[in-house]
Structures are given as structure tokens and as C-alpha cells.
């Protein structure tokens, strides 16, 4: 779809309107992919946010454009934001069902979180504090979004953000400490 490519290119040179237009397109794509997966899955199958995001990338940008690294950042930033909504929605629904839904059989897979086992509680916790982190330290927040929501490894996120992997790992440690502190410091909030 060349629309996406054009938007990415525009966003890369600073067109903020293009950046804004990316998100709904990416969100729609990811939402469709996510529900297609869930419709076909056995109940205990763990879905993979990384796979969803990469598929969306392939589908929207196409294999020819995969090598255009300059534009990836905007795609993944939009994807991270989109996945955040999808993941958090599902984590909330699951929690509702678990604690309020009674006999209702869980229809969707056990864990829509990224394969590296971000638990639902962690996901919701990050969702709660991420906006504060954006205000506190934007670059660290971007790293967290790519890693937690878009399912990129820290190395991949580093590449997308244009920082060294070492910096990414260090910032991640900082992010964990900071977020944990924000959440109350001792234990995660109970459900």
C-alpha cells in the first residue's frame, strides 16, 4: 500500500500531520490481524505481539520497503501506540472475565501479551504509568513502548531509535526502576 509509504516518508521529514494519520491506519491493520488470529486460534494459544507488528509492517509497507530503515521508526512508534490499545483492551477484558465474569468461558487466547511473557498485570501497570514517563523522559518512554507494546527486543528497539544497544539496556533498567517506583514501590497494585 503506497499510502503508508508516502505517509512514512512524509513523517520522516517532519510532517506531523502525516505522523498523525499513520496511527489509525496502523491501528486498523493490527486490529484486523489480531482478531483474525483470535478467530482461528485454540483457546490456549499464546499470540505474539511481535509477529502481529511485523506482519502489519510487511503488509502495509511491503517487503520492498523493509530496507528503508529511516522510516521504520515512525511505523513502529505508531504500531507501539496501536498495540498498546489492543493489548490493554484485551488485558482488561480478561481481568474482567477472571474476576467478574463468572461462568463465562474465556473465548479468546490466554495471553495476548508479547511472547517474552509480559503478564497482563505488568501490561496494565505500564499502561498506567507510561504517560507519566512520556512527560518525565520521552526517549526512555519511547524505548518502553517499543519493547513492551510493539514487542521489539531491546536490540531492535535500539536500532529503531538510533541508540546503542548498551544504552538501551541501561535505559531499560532505569525505566523499570522508575515505573516500579511510580506504581507504589513495593508491590504491584492488586487487581
Amino acid at each position: 500500500m503506497s499510502d503508508i509509504t508516502q505517509l512514512l516518508e512524509a513523517a520522516a521529514i517532519g510532517d506531523r500531520k502525516a505522523s498523525a494519520e499513520l496511527l489509525p491506519l496502523v491501528y486498523e491493520e493490527l486490529r484486523q490481524l489480531a482478531s483474525a488470529r483470535m478467530a482461528n486460534e485454540a483457546p490456549n494459544h499464546t499470540l505474539n505481539a511481535t509477529a502481529l507488528v511485523h506482519e502489519a509492517y510487511l503488509r502495509l509497507v511491503g517487503t520492498a520497503d523493509v530496507a528503508r530503515w529511516d522510516n521504520r521508526g515512525h511505523f513502529f512508534a505508531a504500531a507501539a501506540e496501536a498495540m498498546r490499545r489492543i493489548l490493554v483492551d484485551h488485558a482488561r477484558r480478561r481481568n474482567q472475565l477472571r474476576h467478574g465474569g463468572g461462568r463465562h468461558r474465556v473465548e479468546f487466547p490466554e495471553n495476548l501479551a508479547t511472547k517474552a511473557t509480559t503478564s497482563e498485570d505488568d501490561l496494565l501497570a505500564v499502561d498506567e504509568v507510561i504517560d507519566r514517563l512520556v512527560a518525565h523522559d520521552l526517549s526512555v518512554a519511547e524505548l518502553v513502548k517499543l519493547h513492551v507494546f510493539a514487542g521489539l527486543t531491546l536490540e531492535q528497539a535500539a536500532e529503531v531509535l538510533g541508540i546503542s544497544a548498551r544504552t538501551a539496556y541501561r535505559n531499560w533498567a532505569y525505566a523499570r526502576a522508575w515505573m516500579f517506583q511510580q506504581l507504589g514501590g513495593n508491590e504491584l497494585p492488586t487487581k
Binding site: 500500500m1 484486523q32 490481524l33 483474525a36 488470529r37 482461528n40 486460534e41 485454540a42 494459544h45 499464546t46 505474539n48 511481535t50 509477529a51 511485523h54 506482519e55 509492517y57 510487511l58 503488509r59 502495509l60 511491503g62 517487503t63 520492498a64 523493509v66 511472547k115 517474552a116 511473557t117 509480559t118 505488568d122 501497570a125 505500564v126 518525565h136 523522559d137 526512555v140 513492551v148 527486543t153 531491546l154 536490540e155 531492535q156 535500539a158 536500532e159 541508540i163 546503542s164 544497544a165 548498551r166 539496556y169 541501561r170 535505559n171 531499560w172 533498567a173 532505569y174 523499570r176 526502576a177 522508575w178 515505573m179 516500579f180 517506583q181 514501590g185 513495593n186 504491584l188
Partner: protein
């Protein structure tokens, strides 16, 4: 806050790298000086990290300071560190030029296990990189060494890598690349050594030498037999395609060799693999070669007949020059649509694909013949054989890779083949399902008449 966040952050990050609490305390003294607020902020974060425990702490992430994998052991900054922690260890990790995080870089010239000197990178898969290497003992020869990629040390990936190595080691067949050795590098990265196949993809080999359809079929039979061997050992290849079937010359005779069981799945194994992504932007399996059951998101339902399907695509390409759903067509539609096409769309018969191909003269030349003769040769029995392997309903395909090979051999011997065009009744049923309204409206007599006509095509 009066202090810019970056100061707290950099002091915190540097403090993490201190080797022990006293070194850390000393560093904090130097960095924070008299600024008690600053110091309290940094120490607050250090404590928070220690207490964070399982929060966002995943097996798949290396420890920032040591590169060790596994959940980070919490250590109180106020208790002397014991040897087991490593959380606040000393030397920062080595990084390569690209900034990627490795314990030690595997680079060319490195000697693995004291015997394999890496010469050149020849391939890269999702989990590992394949190098051309010179083995020095006990014999001197060139080999292929596959090393797991850096940063791929999670238990799941290690298990998969090991499963691949074991899958290969179980094979003992002249048309499957042999595993010669296996082990771990000095920094614990698994590797295994394979027979080096100095060959080219089977499609290129056949085109370069302008092999006739008959010669291509003769080369195809041992490939089926190799896959059969794997199936008998309980391994499904899952990624059969020209790049994984290399043809090399041994004593001037062409020998096809199946390589790369990287996505292979042992049928009896506990290890199930739900990951669709093997690397950045890469999807497991190659869309043009994916069977209908693979082209869904439920990967658990794949069996040996998926390999039969992929062999069918391979034969299709050997005969017709292109796979039935070419990359160009697939790229136009996007991944979800790709899956639908593979699952639902009936491919053109190879002879039809040929007769409508734009590059037919070239294709025919590459097959040592002329366009019309080529199409005529493929039409009929070869069509049927290929299409039988490509049935969407896997129960209708060849049951085994050997069954496929046997039918090809029957064709080569001039005997009757088992693959037959779908029976009149079967095609009628298909047509009925697709055009139910029309057929019912037309009435029974017309239905039978139409059925009779269809059956004769």
C-alpha cells in the same frame, strides 16, 4: 523537579555498573557530592530496581551489566554482594561495531572449538548464521558451521536450535546434508557443523544446464526420497523450497541435497513452536511454498503432507518455471490475503501456467525444448501428478513423499500413473457447492447433463 532527570538517570545507570556496594557508595559520593536530594533520588531508584523483582523481568533479556540471561537476582545495595549475583558487576559488556550486544563477537577468522576457522558468512536464518569454515582436525576440509545468533539465548530458542541439530543428526541419507559435529563456543553459544554442500538451488541448476523435463524429474525423485527419510525419522521439514535443495556435483554427477531444517519440527517432540517470527520482519516459512494448512495462524495442524505439498510446488516450478502463486502476485495482496489465496484459490495447472506465461520461449529454452512441445509434454500426466500433490485437501494428496516419487518414476518408465484428474462426480460436487442456487434452479435433468459435459473435459 529542580534537578534535570538526566542527571539522576546517568548517575543511576553508572551506579548499576559498580562492582560492589562499597564501589557504588564511593561513586555516589563523588557524583552527588553534597546534594542529598540527588543522592536520595538515585538510591530510591536503586532500591526500586532491586524490589521490582518479576516486574517486567523476562527470561529473554540479558542482564545489562553482565550479559547473563535469566531473571535478575535482586541484591540490596547495603549488603555485600556475594559471588552469585552479578547484578552489579564490573566490566561493561563488549559491543560490536554495530552496537549489538554480544558477550564476544563471532567474527571471521575466529576459530571455534579449536578446529573450525570461520572464513565467510554464507547464510543467515532466523536463529543462526551459517559460515563457511575450514576444519583443521582431525581432517582438513571445508565445512559449514551454523552458530546461534547473539542475543538468542532464551531457553526456548536454545531448545529449538538443539532440536534442529538433533533432527539433522538423526538423518542418514545421501540426499540430506550431514551433521558432522556439534558443541558450544567459548562463550557458550551453541553451534553445529554440517557437510558443506557446494551447490546451487535445484531450479537454478536445472536452468543453467537446460535440463529437459525428464532430467528434472530424475533429479526430483531423490529429493522426495530424502524427505521420506526425514519423515520416517519423525521430522517434518516445513520449509522445502529451491534454496533449501541444493544440487552439487560429485564425480561429475549431480546430487541434490536437502539442507536447512531450521524450521523443522520433530513430530514426537514436546517442543511446540507458536512463534511466527524468526527474525526481524521475517515470517516462518516461505509464502510461495506454504501449504494451505500452514497458511493459517494455527501452526499445530501441520503434518508430513505439508512437505508433500511443498514438494509439489517445487516440481511445479521445475516444470513451469514459476510456482503457482508467485511472489509478485502475493506481494500485491498482503499477508492475510496471501494466506487466503493459498488456502482457497485453485492454482492453474502447470501446462496452463506455461501456455499463458510471458517468458515462455525462455522457459522452454531452459528446458531444452520449444514452447509448444513443452506445453504438450507437461499437459496430461505431469499436470495430474503435480496437481495431486497440491490438493487443498491433504487427504487427497500423495500420502507419502515416496508415493509421490513412485508416481514420477512410473511416468518416467512409461507406466500408468496413479494421479488421475478429479473424477466427473468429484468435479460435479465441487461445481455444485459453488453454484448451488443456479444448479437447483436448473433442475435435475440439466444438472445431470451439465455434469456429463464437465466430466468429459
Amino acid at each position: 523537579m529542580s534537578t534535570p532527570p538526566v542527571d539522576v538517570k546517568s548517575i543511576f545507570e553508572k551506579a548499576l555498573e559498580c562492582s560492589d556496594p562499597s564501589a557504588r557508595a564511593a561513586y555516589l559520593n563523588a557524583a552527588c557530592g553534597e546534594n542529598a536530594t540527588l543522592r536520595a533520588q538515585v538510591e530510591g531508584l536503586l532500591v526500586a530496581l532491586e524490589r521490582a523483582g518479576a516486574f517486567l523481568n523476562r527470561e529473554s533479556e540479558p542482564d545489562p551489566a553482565t550479559g547473563a540471561f535469566g531473571p535478575v537476582e535482586p541484591v540490596s545495595p547495603h549488603i555485600p554482594a556475594d559471588g552469585v549475583t552479578g547484578t552489579f558487576a564490573s566490566a561493561p559488556p563488549a559491543t560490536s561495531e554495530t552496537g549489538s550486544y554480544v558477550a564476544r563477537e563471532i567474527s571471521l577468522g575466529v576459530v571455534i572449538d579449536g578446529k573450525y576457522k570461520l572464513i565467510e558468512e554464507i547464510g543467515e536464518g532466523g536463529m543462526g548464521t551459517v559460515f563457511l569454515a575450514q576444519q583443521t582436525e582431525p581432517v582438513k576440509r571445508l565445512v559449514a558451521v551454523k552458530v546461534i545468533k547473539p542475543g538468542m539465548d532464551s531457553k526456548a530458542v536454545l531448545a529449538r536450535f538443539e532440536a534442529e541439530r538433533q533432527a539433522l543428526a538423526m538423518m542418514d541419507h545421501p540426499n540430506i546434508a550431514r551433521v558432522l559435529d556439534a558443541g558450544a563456543t567459548e562463550d557458550g553459544r551453541p553451534f553445529f557443523v554440517m557437510e558443506l554442500v557446494k551447490g546451487v538451488p535445484i531450479t537454478k541448476f536445472c536452468d543453467d544446464r537446460k535440463l529437459t523435463p525428464q532430467q528434472r524429474l530424475e533429479l526430483f525423485v531423490p529429493v522426495c526420497q530424502a524427505i521420506q527419510h526425514a519423515h520416517q525419522k519423525g521430522v517434518i521439514h516445513r520449509d522445502i523450497k529451491p534454496n533449501n535443495v541444493l544440487v552439487a556435483l560429485y564425480d561429475d554427477r549431480p546430487v541434490p541435497k536437502v539442507i536447512d531444517f531450521g524450521v523443522a519440527k520433530a513430530t514426537g517432540s514436546q517442543l511446540t513452536d507458536h512463534t511466527l517470527v524468526t527474525g526481524f520482519g521475517a515470517v516462518v516459512g516461505t509464502p510461495e511454498y506454504m501449504s494451505p494448512e500452514q497458511a493459517s495462524f494455527n501452526q499445530m495442524d501441520v503434518d508430513t503432507r505439508s512437505d508433500v505439498y511443498a514438494l509439489g510446488i517445487l516440481l511445479y516450478e521445475l516444470l513451469a518455471g514459476w510456482p503457482p502463486f508467485s511472489r509478485k502476485e502475493l506481494e500485491k495482496v498482503g499477508l492475510l490475503e496471501i494466506f487466503r489465496v493459498i488456502r482457497e484459490q485453485e492454482p492453474l495447472r502447470p501446462s496452463n501456467k506455461l501456455s499463458t506465461a510471458s517468458g515462455l520461449p525462455t522457459l522452454a529454452a531452459n528446458r531444452g525444448t520449444e514452447p509448444r512441445r513443452l506445453t504438450a509434454l507437461v499437459r496430461g500426466e505431469l499436470d495430474w501428478i503435480v496437481m495431486k500433490a497440491l490438493e487443498k485437501d491433504r487427504g487427497r494428496r500423495y500420502e507419502t513423499a515416496n508415493g509421490f516419487a513412485a508416481d514420477v518414476q512410473r511416468y518416467l518408465a512409461g507406466e500408468a500413473v496413479q494421479a488421475v484428474p478429479p473424477s466427473g462426480w468429484y468435479r460435479l460436487r465441487k461445481m455444485y457447492r459453488r453454484n448451488r442456487g443456479l444448479v437447483l434452479a436448473a433442475g435435475l435433468v440439466l444438472f445431470v447433463l451439465v455434469g456429463g459435459v464437465i466430466g468429459k473435459i
